[in-house]
């Protein structure tokens, strides 16, 4: 296996409990926040184009004077489609290095502002935006409670009749990707990213996360991104639940696109409370450690992405062609990721 599960166990154990689960879990700090900070220039270099269906949504919601928020904006690539028709956009992300890139990229847009902000605690008033993008964020969130809070926050800042688009990685890659006959073995995985130690994106002074290992053959650091992959229906159920149920939200579309499950929805009405609905806090201190249920991923669930699922009667697929020189994944977990683990 390319990565060690031991470190992940450590990361899980450090989870903040005094904060009643409100703090950022250690696994996200180390395997999402710190990873994106380290890989920002190289990641941006391979992802400058918005996905067509995301851009299509962005254009549809982005009329003149429309207010849009891009939750988890990364390098700001969705901003162009949003602002094309005269909309204004706030791009929020936790990664300052990515935001600096977004700022430079979006400078020529009439009104794109960047904010260093956590999607579970958006610094915006209720019912403010006409549109929200929430693309490729939810698969980096490690507990069901945090996912609910994050989606609820996105809905909170939407005005009634505001529209949201959610994208998150799909478990069932094999059903849709022609090249892939596999699926992830577990819903919570670590996905490698090869950070090149040479070339145009390399920053010698950058401080990589402590879990990074060296791949001497590729002259790259191997970083591990934490991902929760969504099974069919899971994202839809999450959106309905977190938005407050069918009285509060209308689902406009639910589909598969580029390795993601996607949900487009319209907020019907604003819930009166000014804070997102908080799930009942578990009394963590009194529950024996081993009995704690699914609110955090167990170490046993954290696994490298799956290898071949036995498919009786079918010839095994040919080995995936040469692993790409840059990132292992692009924006979706395709077959090439799985090939790394053989």
């Amino acid at each position: 296996p390319r990565s060690s599960p031991l470190l992940v166990d450590d990361a899980l154990e450090e989870d903040d409990e005094e904060g009643q689960g409100r703090g950022v879990p250690a696994i996200e700090r180390e395997h999402v926040w710190r990873v994106y900070d380290a890989i920002a220039p190289q990641w941006h270099g391979t992802r400058y184009k918005a996905w067509p269906r995301v851009a299509e949504f962005a254009r549809a919601v982005g009329g003149p004077g429309s207010l849009a928020i891009d939750v988890g904006c990364g390098n700001g690539k969705n901003g162009f489609a949003v602002c094309e028709g005269g909309a204004l956009c706030c791009g929020c992300d936790v990664s300052r290095p990515l935001l600096e890139i977004a700022r430079a990229q979006t400078e020529r847009l009439r009104a794109y502002d960047c904010l260093d902000a956590d999607a579970v605690a958006l610094p915006f008033r209720d019912a403010t935006f006409d549109a929200a993008l929430n693309v490729a964020v939810l698969h980096h969130i490690s507990t069901p409670a945090r996912r609910r809070r994050l989606v609820a926050e996105t809905f909170r800042v939407l005005a009634p009749n505001g529209r949201a688009l959610f994208y998150a990685w799909a478990l069932e890659q094999d059903e849709f990707e022609a090249r892939s006959r596999r699926r992830f073995r577990a819903p919570d995985v670590l996905v490698p990213f090869h950070l090149r130690r040479h070339g145009e994106y390399f920053r010698p002074d950058a401080d990589p996360p402590r879990h990074a290992t060296l791949d001497p053959d590729k002259n790259a650091l191997v970083l591990q991104r934490y991902c929760h992959v969504y099974e069919r229906g899971e994202l839809l159920a999450l959106v309905l639940d977190a938005a407050g149920g069918p009285d509060c939200v209308a689902v406009d579309a639910a589909y598969y696109d580029q390795g993601n499950w996607a949900v487009a929805a319209t907020k019907l009405r604003h819930q009166p409370s000014s804070h997102p609905p908080r799930p009942p806090d578990r009394d963590i201190a009194t529950v024996p450690r081993d009995d704690r249920p699914a609110d955090r991923p167990r170490a046993s669930q954290i696994a490298n992405a799956a290898t071949t699922r036995p498919d009786p009667g079918e010839a095994p697929p040919p080995p995936t062609p040469q692993h790409r020189a840059d990132d292992d994944l692009r924006d979706h977990p395709p077959a090439s990721l799985l090939a790394l683990l053989e």
Binding site: G65, G86, L88, R103, R110, F124
Partner: protein, 124 residues
């Protein structure tokens, strides 16, 4: 950070209500003005979504010469006024400074035009 964005923001510190946390107080150390293309339609549609008093107060603070009127008509059609609003909403950038929570006094730093609104553990 443009004033249009500031107008939508509020303190996200826990136990600070919608009203208590708005508007954030701007303490700017560096402000710049950058021209961008004026579109009357955009500004006309945008203005009713703004909290005008907060906008006027913020403009007075960071661009004292902006001289916005005390009140706005329900539908702004006068081009000169639209252009003034365009300037205040979209062309003024707070590059460095702080946003201050009106209830707790918590300071959020703006660096290179990007406010840092990440909360500490005890503020979540």
């Amino acid at each position: 950070m443009r004033l249009v964005t500031h107008n939508m923001m509020r303190s996200n510190v826990k136990d600070v209500s919608e009203d208590e946390g708005y508007p954030l107080i701007i303490e700017a150390s560096e402000v710049k003005s950058e021209e961008c293309e004026f579109n009357a339609d955009v500004i006309r549609r945008l203005v009713p979504k703004m909290d005008y008093k907060a906008l006027r107060d913020a403009a007075e603070k960071v661009d004292p010469e902006s001289a916005l009127p005390d009140e706005l008509p329900d539908d702004v059609v006068d081009e000169a006024l639209l252009r003034k609003l365009h300037h205040v909403l979209l062309e003024i950038h707070v590059v460095e400074g702080d946003l201050v929570c009106p209830k707790t006094g918590r300071r959020f730093q703006i660096t290179n035009g990007i406010p840092n609104m990440l909360l500490h553990e005890d503020e979540l």
